[in-house]
Amino acid sequence: MTTEAELVPAELKELMGKESDPGPEFVVEAGHVRRFAEAIGDDNPIYRDPKAAEAVGGLVAPPTFFTAVSMPWFPEPKWTWGTVSLAAGRTAMYNRPIRVGDVLRSTVTLVDVYTRPGRNGSLVFTVQEATVRDQSGEVVVRVQRAMARR
């Protein structure tokens, strides 16, 4: 039997609840938003055509564009467990959509680490939360990222 204490690196436990320094400024550019929508295969013109976007107050980004924003995620710890780390889930809580022209900065907090039995042995989940703020300091979106190690 492996115990949780053996699976979870001590460096992760020490990070719990600590907020990172803000990441670098990230300027939301029109071409980047357009390429992001194209990669998803979403041809809604509000992501690329300023005229069409007038109806929604100007060019906006698709709801998952936050993933392209520089965020100071804590790096993977030195695992003694498992061979692969996979994305387990993502939760976004929006105050407003990200818009072209936004200047964003994010901070990250490690909010949870836990283990669960899986099909082929234990899974170790780590959940980090990023808070994305705009140039006036208002929160645009909060994002929780869950990773599973197996």
Partner: protein
């Protein structure tokens, strides 16, 4: 048109969000998404790494691409991302090149709270075998369109 297409009073519990069937996943789309998102994890872009180091059958699409598909389902229904309050997804199964993903969703409840008119939905991204690859829930606020 990008203007809102959905009205709170027209939505009932059980209302189906119009489904979208995506074109088959390709390595090119995965590469484009890697570039656009900045996620160059070799699981997504390096076939040799994915099949040897990580013992997958090939590269896999980013989970966030499936979440992007579910975002597209909602914003196509709603006209824009403006009403979206929460999007919460679990990546349940990998998406491989060749997979055909169908997006669907169902309204599970609606409520009026603090001036907001909230609609809660269940969301699913399903592959050609009927396996749910990504599941999720969303909350949208339709008060701006009321």
């Amino acid at each position: 048109m990008p203007v809102a297409t959905v009205n709170f009073k027209d939505i009932e519990v059980g209302t189906e969000i119009p489904s979208i069937v995506k074109p088959a996943m390709t390595r090119v789309q995965i590469a484009k998404y890697a570039g656009a998102s900045g996620d160059f994890n070799p699981l997504h872009v390096d076939e040799i790494y994915a099949t040897t180091q990580s013992r997958m059958k090939s590269v896999i699409a980013h989970g966030m691409l499936s979440m992007g598909f579910l975002g597209q389902l909602l914003t196509t229904w709603l006209g824009s991302p403006l009403p979206l309050r929460t999007l919460d997804v679990r990546f349940q199964s990998s998406v491989y090149p060749g997979d055909v993903i169908t997006l669907s969703g169902t309204v599970t409840s609606k409520e009026e709270k603090d001036g907001a008119t909230l609609v809660h939905c269940d969301l699913r991204a399903t592959n050609q075998d009927g396996t749910v690859v990504t599941s999720g829930i969303a909350t949208v606020d339709l008060s701006a369109q009321a």
